[in-house]
């Protein structure tokens, strides 16, 4: 079966080609079927590989030699091991569900064919990212998903703000990619190779805290902050909600944003040997988790709440990586993929029913009208809040247990963030599904449960959100943590370096108790405020006090504009206006304006112009001579 691995990315790519070329010719049902079948096919192959794979060593499937230059050889090859298999299952599995869902969700859209072409292309690049056997193939996937995300965020491009959001996402991502690319170059010059199977054994022999390793890992982490929306590069993700909702679910919740975590988990040995980087990751992750949770508390757009919650959950994953809980972080990737995809698709279903209304202040009381959506979303919310035995409980508690052992202060802050999570998620549920309907009569008339193609994925994901956690039941609760054992070949070298969790069961019970108790209290507070008192946030209240700070996203966008964009614009404007326009053209045009009036001698203008050019050149030559002979 493993020989067929090349089919996994190829199928979506074929789907992309068919849909891309035939988007105006093929009928809509056929397009949807082709696109979905392509991803389902990949899922089937992934599943069979998952069931048959039992090698302890990663299997590298060499396709062809891609770049050969000097001693550096970069093959186009795929690497199959436990880590990539888990990612494959997530991408193709959730991808399939979202394709099916989209067939219903996008059925009224004129760009139906284009949408599925992009979606297939995205899956293709994402698969390249996780299957690549070296950093360069990974980088291709990395850039490719960024590109597809850009195309999909700007899918409804007739709205100018959406197109801007797309550009913002791409450019923020590119800033992160800068780090990743430099990291890869540094890896090449350090290890002389880019293949995982060659780098990691070499790295394992290095000393912990090696300066080069620290630099490499920091650069890689910068790449991860861009793609996985961490401080300070996270602001693109909430804006990315401009895309169609299935896109938000697939790309901006379940798959692409986890690429950074996958990359760090893949390079675990490099990070395990760089304790400094790990500490940085932990702090950044924690800050992101709490800041995003704080912002989510006052957002009124249902998708924005989910977006910030995604940023916050990603923060938890990084926190987990930072304290060395690689399995825990990856576990959270899996469970988060289930419940966050579910929540986004549920939100999509709500938006669909509300005729594209996204503001929660205009919703309310929807639980009777949309029973399936309501129930499934409730499951998702409980899962993300972390109540047992739903999926989020196990993964989040595993991370927090590691954090507790690592540093108590980090744990307290993290725990606080977890309470905030429960609060804002239930706030969203209460505002949307409880109380009275606050929309227009027209919307009320239109309210309907979504078609089967949309509710079916919701139900599947809801089941996964309930049972997904059981793959990692801790020993304290009588489980044997199947995921930990499954991933152990990938993490073997790291586990030799980083200490395993050594909490006794009593402490673990206490930790679980505290977090579950706090979560329940948060939910009750939210219930009292939003259901019993029927509170609905109003614009002017959001603009006062601490809510103002939260509602305006801590003014981070404005901050970035002030400290990055403005100077860059100013510099560019300076070059354009002063050097190009005022300096050269200005001089000339000034001369020209006067002389055109007086005489028609354009000759004067040109000699003046070239004179300046030559003058500048002479200055340049003098500078070069001085620099060559005197300074050096």
């Amino acid at each position: 079966m493993i020989d067929l691995v090349w089919l996994i990315p190829l199928l979506p790519f074929i789907g992309f080609l068919i849909n891309g070329l035939g988007r105006n010719v093929l009928p809509k049902p056929l397009i949807g079927t082709i696109a979905s079948l392509a991803v389902i096919g990949s899922f089937a192959i992934s599943l069979s590989i998952f069931l048959t794979f039992d090698a302890a060593q990663p299997q590298v499937i060499h396709l062809f030699d891609w770049i050969n230059v000097g001693s550096l050889s970069i093959p186009f090859a795929f690497q199959i091991d436990q880590l990539s298999i888990m990612m494959l299952l997530i991408i193709t599995g959730i991808g399939s569900l979202i394709h099916i869902y989209s067939a219903g969700y996008m059925s009224h859209d004129t760009g139906f064919g284009k949408f599925f072409a992009y979606l297939n292309l995205f899956v293709f690049f994402m698969l390249l990212l996780v299957m690549g056997s070296n950093y360069v193939i990974m980088f291709i996937g990395w850039e490719g998903v960024g590109l597809c995300s850009y195309l999909l965020i700007g899918f409804w491009y007739s709205n100018g703000a959406y197109a801007d959001a797309a550009k913002k996402a791409f450019i923020m991502n590119r800033i992160g990619d800068l780090g990743f690319l430099l990291g890869v170059f540094l890896i090449i010059s350090t290890f002389g190779s880019v293949s995982f199977t060659e780098i990691f054994p070499k790295a394992a022999g290095m000393v912990s805290g090696d300066a080069t390793l620290i630099l490499i890992t920091i650069l890689l982490f910068i790449g991860a902050t861009g793609k996985s929306a961490q401080l300070p590069l996270f602001t693109w993700l909430p804006d990315a909600m401009a895309g169609p909702t299935p896109v938000s679910a697939l790309i901006h919740a379940a798959t692409m944003v986890t690429a950074g975590i996958y990359m760090i988990a893949r390079s675990n040995i490099l990070f395990a040997l760089s304790p400094v980087t790990l500490d940085i990751i932990a702090v950044i992750g924690l800050l992101t988790a709490v800041v995003a949770a704080f912002i989510a508390l006052t957002q009124t757009d249902i998708k924005k709440v989910l977006a910030y919650s995604t940023v916050s959950q990603l923060g938890y994953m990084f926190l987990g990586l930072g304290v060395g809980a690689f399995t825990g972080a990856f576990f959270h990737v899996l469970t988060h993929a289930f419940f966050k995809a579910l929540l986004f698709l549920g939100a999509g279903s709500v938006i669909h029913a509300m005729s594209n209304e996204q503001d929660m202040r205009n919703m309310g009381g929807l639980r009777k009208k949309l029973p399936i959506t309501f129930l499934t979303m409730l499951i998702g919310t409980i899962a993300i809040a972390g109540l047992p035995p739903f999926a989020g409980f196990f993964s989040k508690d595993e991370i927090l247990a590691h954090v507790y052992e690592h540093n108590k202060l980090l744990w307290i802050i993290g725990l606080f963030g977890a309470f905030l999570t429960a609060a804002y998620m239930f706030r969203m549920m209460f505002l949307t599904f409880w109380g009275n309907f606050r929309g227009t009569e027209d919307q009320k008339h239109h309210l309907h449960e979504s078609p089967v193609s949309m509710t079916f994925p919701l139900i599947v994901l809801a089941i996964l959100s309930i049972v997904g956690g059981f793959m990692g039941v801790p020993h304290a609760l009588g489980g044997h943590h199947w995921l930990n054992e499954y991933l152990s070949p990938v993490l073997a070298a790291t586990n030799n370096i980083l200490p395993a969790l050594s909490l006794d069961h009593a402490t673990e019970y206490m930790l679980m108790g505290i977090s579950v108790g706090g979560v329940i209290i948060s939910i009750i507070i939210a219930y009292v405020k939003y259901v019993s008192k029927g509170y609905v946030p109003k614009e002017e209240e959001l603009q006062s006090g601490i809510s103002k700070l939260s509602y305006n996203k801590l003014y981070l966008d404005e901050l970035y504009t002030a400290i990055i964009q403005k100077p860059l614009d100013a510099l560019s404007a300076f070059f354009f206006k002063v050097v190009d326009k005022s300096g050269i053209d200005g001089l000339v045009n000034g001369l020209g304006k006067v002389s055109i009036e007086a005489s028609k001698t354009l000759r004067l203008l040109q000699t003046g112009n070239v004179g300046f050019y030559i003058f500048a050149m002479v200055i340049g030559i003098v500078a070069v001579l001085v620099y060559s002979f005197i300074i050096i």
Binding site: I67, V69, L571, V579, M617, G620
Partner: protein, 459 residues
């Protein structure tokens, strides 16, 4: 060698065809002649040719590779010229002839083995270009471009010549092999005028490739010259400039790297920033391409700064990627300009709806310029950066990557205009020749991006 003869004769034949009113035959004969020249060039691959004409020229693999890429690009430019020159001038045959003469100069520039031949080749090319830039006789911008180019070109050629003279004065020879031997024989105690000559040659060559601070002519000349000539200048001429630059430095001056490297390093960084940052603010697509060509010159200078075994390969691949993308960009620009009459970014609005193929080809070209993976541009940047890293210029690479990201801003402006902005324009009719050129460029860009192995190991 026979390539040079074929191209020179071809130029005269085409001139006479124009004289005897055989206008229909101009394009087919030019293209066929160039294909023949290309075939002759490729046949000399790996023939281990010795220097010919008393050591004046040396048609080695380096020369074959760069001749081929220049000839292929010229063929693409010619294919775009169907019905183009007729519109702007009566003297169509002269266009073809001058381009062919420029190309023969370029062949000399990539295969010289003697500094006097470098100068002769450079002048054959430059003089042809001065005329080509001003060939729209009634157009002020074109006249201005020609005059500026001529004055500044002559000025910089003076420096180049002065440099050659000083190097001759020190080493007593024009021959590259002798100069190289002169450098090797004297680990210390090279005549100081040799160094001065070296710096002056850097100045002259930097002008020809449009590196800052000697780039001032580029935007004005590129904007003023007829678009097709701009396409020729920014691709073939630039590649030839780099080939000549690299040939000189790798054969003669490699042992003196410690001396010239810091200077060139500063020039490279300056070029990158000036090109990219100024391009950021342009609203005119053609002017943007001019500034972007400055920044690409910066990337190619990289490989010379980090002169080593991999440099030739790196520049070759970068040049190939850059050439095909530029041709695509200029081809689409010509079509758009013919339709709307101007060449601003807004003119590309809604192109994806009216002409999906044009928009797609231009998108791939822009992605390649920006260095996105799976396009040729990424491979080019990868090789150039890798060459630089092999010499431990880590900071240089960091600066370059920052610049590559700035580049994304303005390259994406076009993509955004084409895909995300609406405009009720009618479809632009694309001639078959254009579709052919765009298709070929597209295929080359993607094939090089996905499977570069077949040209990465040429050297």
């Amino acid at each position: 060698m026979s390539t040079l003869i074929v191209i020179s004769i071809l130029a005269i034949v085409v001139l006479y065809l124009g004289l005897f009113k055989a206008k229909q035959a101009l394009l087919p004969i030019s293209v066929l002649g160039l294909v023949a020249a290309l075939a002759l060039a490729i046949m000399e691959w790996n023939s281990n040719a010795a220097p010919i004409f008393s050591g004046m020229m040396h048609f080695d693999n380096f020369a074959v590779a760069f001749s081929s890429i220049c000839i292929i690009t010229t063929i693409l430019v010619f294919l775009l010229s169907k019905n183009y020159f007729e519109k702007i001038s009566d003297n169509v045959a002269e266009y073809y002839t001058l381009i062919l003469f420029a190309l023969s100069g370029i062949i000399v520039m990539v295969s010289y083995h003697n500094l006097s031949m470098l100068f002769v080749g450079l002048e054959i090319m430059s003089v042809s270009l001065y005329i080509l830039a001003g060939i729209k006789r009634k157009d002020f911008a074109s006249n201005e471009a020609a005059l500026k180019y001529f004055l500044m070109g002559a000025f910089s050629t003076g420096f180049l010549l002065f440099g050659i003279a000083l190097i001759y004065g020190a080493s007593k020879s024009f021959d590259l092999a002798v100069i190289a031997q002169y450098v090797i024989d004297r680990p210390t105690g090279i005549d100081p005028i040799f160094y001065v000559g070296l710096v002056l040659m850097i100045v002259g060559l930097c002008f020809k490739v449009g590196a800052a601070p000697f780039h001032f002519w580029t935007p004005d000349v590129y904007e003023g010259a007829p678009t097709l000539i701009t396409a020729f200048m920014s691709t073939v001429v630039k590649i030839a400039g780099f080939a000549a630059f690299l040939r000189l430095f790798s054969i003669c001056f490699a042992p003196l790297q410690d001396f010239w490297m810091p200077t060139l390093l500063v020039i490279t960084i300056l070029t990158l920033f000036v090109g990219n940052i100024t391009a950021l603010y342009q609203t005119n697509f053609k002017r943007m391409l001019a500034f972007s060509s400055i920044s690409h010159a910066g990337y190619m200078l990289f490989a010379i700064v980090a002169l080593g075994a991999a440099s030739t390969n790196a520049i070759f691949i970068y040049a190939a990627a850059y050439a095909v993308s530029s041709i695509t960009a200029f081809a689409v620009l010509m079509l758009v300009k013919a339709k709307t009459g101007s060449e601003n970014f807004e003119d590309f609005n809604g192109l994806a709806k009216s002409n999906p193929f044009l928009a797609f080809a231009l998108t791939v070209a822009m992605l390649s310029f920006a260095g996105i993976p799976l396009t040729a541009g990424f491979i080019g940047k990868f090789f150039v950066f890798n060459a630089a890293l092999a010499q431990y210029h880590t900071w240089l690479v960091a600066i370059a990557v920052v610049n590559a990201i700035i580049g994304v801003f303005y390259y994406f402006k076009v993509i955004v205009a084409m895909y995300f902005k609406d405009n009720q324009t009618k479809q632009i009719a694309t001639p078959a020749y254009f579709n052919f050129v765009l298709g070929v460029s597209l295929i080359i860009t993607l094939v090089l991006g996905i499977y570069p192995s077949f040209i990465t190991n040429l050297f």
